[in-house]
Amino acid sequence: MTNPEAVREDLRGRVAALLTDHDPATTDPVTFHRARFDAGLAWVYYPEGVGGLGLDRELQPFVDTLFEEAGAPGNNPELNGIGLGMAAPTILAYGTPEQRQRYLRPLWAGEEIWCQLFSEPGAGSDLAAVSTRAVRDGDDWIVNGQKVWTSVAHKAQRAILVARTDPDRPKHAGLSYFICDMTAPGVDVRPLRQLTGEAEFNEVFLTDVRIPDANRLGQEGAGWRVATTTLNNERVSIGGRPVPRESGILGAVTRTWRGHPEHHTPELHDRLLRLWVEAEAARLAATRLRQRVAGGQPGPETSALKLSFARINQQLSGFELELLGEDGLRYEDWTMVRPDRVDFAGRDAGYRYLRAKGNSIEGGTSEIMRNIVAERVLGLPGEARADKDIAWKDLIR
């Protein structure tokens, strides 16, 4: 089937057949999603047998829309973003047939939530510096270490994990990539309270956690390459859908502006409009990037978008507190809670101000993003590396 319309027609037929057999109104979500997976309609660009039909990636939104319009249930994408967006493509790329069979279906169906055990207190931007150790013991690995900034770890059944298996090799070469059972003995998830007062993330302590070698993804020592696949897929998700004008934090700030004419000054007015213009220009840059990479893979230019959105969010949220004057001195609630996801718009200005500080740190700091833009877009020389050919165990840490 090379005719695109014929392919779409065939997909329409498959979706209709599935909807006939499994009425979304009466089928429980997990059953529905298992059936969708088995019909190859989960990720149509995956191979047959693991949730797909081996079709073009561009057809995925078409299928998603058909299901959305039919009122199909959600598979918890807010909670399972790491599973759907990062673990699944990595398992597809590096998993054995057994691993693909075991993990992809429950992941898709939202039965198993995934988290990511990558960052450590000593390895944030320098991710290849992780020191969590995995030591071979027969058919198992015994893992010890501490991970940090782990979203949804307290809800997750599975994790993707990068650990050091050979400290005698340079840092990038001594890593291996595992699938970790979050319910295994020795896995201790503790809330990590942030400056907003809430614990949106966790710390995960791994003490003599046993991971079967069958749960290793990719070759021993090839963990960095596997992790790169994961991280590239993280970037793909950035800027995926068009956002409307005045959305996000800007929307919250303009509502505040319109609602508080008594606080207006000419100085604040000009600052607001500067930010509005900047946000709109950045939104258009995102639109253009989307047009440029339509169908293909976004490159390092996505780092540029992340830089501008982080800066604009921080300036806007700081501006909003000033605009509010006396009310800007108040905070909604310091009680420790563990939210499932970040909701900027549904919260007060003080929360927005504090949480936006993370925008220039999470998913790669703005400093690292600038290096990426400078080196990979503008072609300027790379940073001097003091740790390139030295065994990890000999590095000064």
Partner: protein, 369 residues
């Protein structure tokens, strides 16, 4: 907001860009541009001739049935971006964009003359004017002769005719006055690649080219189109500054290493790249909205005008700084771009003016008004 406006070059636009760039590469040498500061304006004459005769761009925005090339605002944006990259001293913005747009509202034969390049026009207004209220009105005497003085006019040296706003009891007319019949006093301008002149009109005959009923809207559209498309020239200026600075910092060595490898400089260039990407998307969106007469065109134009002027100045200022000593020299061309960028920022309304216009358009008023 129109998500379907293409913000990339079409194949036709890529070809147009290549043609303009190749001509400028060949005939717009920075040393010759610099000569404008010593009063040598020969480059302008030869270059404008090439652009009108060889590329046929003088009438780009004029429809084919009126003798022009029938191009769109997107095409004009591409041309302006390339002209900005070379700080090219030609009256494309003043004649082919602003004057042509104003003239299209009338049915004078001047349109066809402008389209072929046999005649070049300029709006009789300070280059800084952003609104029709800021256009100086000439006085019309009983014989219909016009008088008045207008300062800091751009494009006047190349113009065969000047377009003047003349207020009458019936409304504002646009008159064409032969430049030969007025006094043109050269001004020592901040940007000599778009030099200004003070114009004294003393009982000169004018002929109506846009009638009273259509005059005001025509002038308004001319200024707004000029401001929206000037953003593309500003993007071209900024792009040259970034490209040239990056190229220089890849070869300049200090402390035994390539200067562009220092993180402090890399980060500044990365920030500039990010801003330039935004500016270029904003300028393109404004041109695209104009080209399709999209209802969002006024907002798009205000955003582009408010943003791109600031970014061009920043890019030029960073270029001077990051070039170090050579950036301060007369010999090295970066100062040509600094002067063009700063003059452009003031031209056709400052960023602050365009932000205040935008405030009204997007319902972000100051206070309770």
């Amino acid at each position: 907001m129109s998500e379907d406006i293409l913000l990339l070059d079409t194949d036709v636009e890529t070809a147009l860009r290549a043609a303009v760039r190749s001509l400028l590469n060949e005939r717009c040498d920075p040393a010759a541009v610099l000569a404008a500061y010593a009063g040598d304006r020969s480059l302008t004459r030869s270059l404008w001739k090439s652009i009108t005769a060889e590329l046929g761009l003088a009438g780009l925005l004029i429809p084919e049935n009126r003798g022009g090339a029938g191009g769109s605002a997107r095409d004009a944006a591409v041309v302006l971006e390339e002209l900005g990259r070379f700080a090219a001293p030609v009256p494309f913005l003043t004649s082919s964009v602003i004057a042509a747009t104003v003239l299209l509202a009338g049915d004078s034969e001047l349109v066809a003359q402008l389209a072929t390049g046999e005649c070049t026009a300029a709006l009789l207004a300070p280059f800084s004017a952003a609104t029709v209220e800021q256009l100086p009105a000439l006085v019309k005497d009983a014989d219909g002769r016009l008088s008045g003085r207008v300062t800091s006019v751009a494009g006047a040296f190349e113009a065969d005719v000047l377009l003047a706003a003349v207020r009458t009891p019936q409304g504002t007319e646009v008159h064409a006055i032969a430049t030969a019949l007025v006094t043109v006093d050269p001004v020592v301008s901040l940007d000599m690649t778009r030099p200004l002149a003070d114009i004294t009109v003393d009982a000169a005959p004018g002929r109506v080219v846009v009638p009273a009923g259509a005059g005001l809207p025509a002038l308004r559209v001319g200024l707004a189109t000029g401001a929206a498309l000037l953003a593309s020239e500003q993007v071209g200026v900024a792009a040259w500054c970034l490209d040239t600075t990056v190229r220089y910092l890849k070869v300049r060595r200090q402390f035994g290493r390539v200067v562009g490898g220092f993180q402090a400089l890399k980060h500044r260039l990365a920030d500039l790249y990010v801003e330039l990407e935004s500016a270029s998307a904003a300028a393109r969106y404004a041109a695209g909205a104009l080209a399709t007469a999209d209802p969002d065109a006024t907002i798009a134009g205000a955003v582009a005008a408010a943003y791109c002027g600031e970014i061009a100045v920043r890019a030029a200022e960073e270029a001077v700084q990051l070039h170090g000593g050579i950036g301060m020299t007369w010999e090295y061309p970066v100062h040509l771009y600094l002067k063009r960028a700063k003059a452009d920022q003031i031209g056709l309304g400052s960023p602050a003016h365009h932000r205040s216009v935008l405030a009204g358009l997007v319902d972000l008023p100051l206070g309770r008004d």
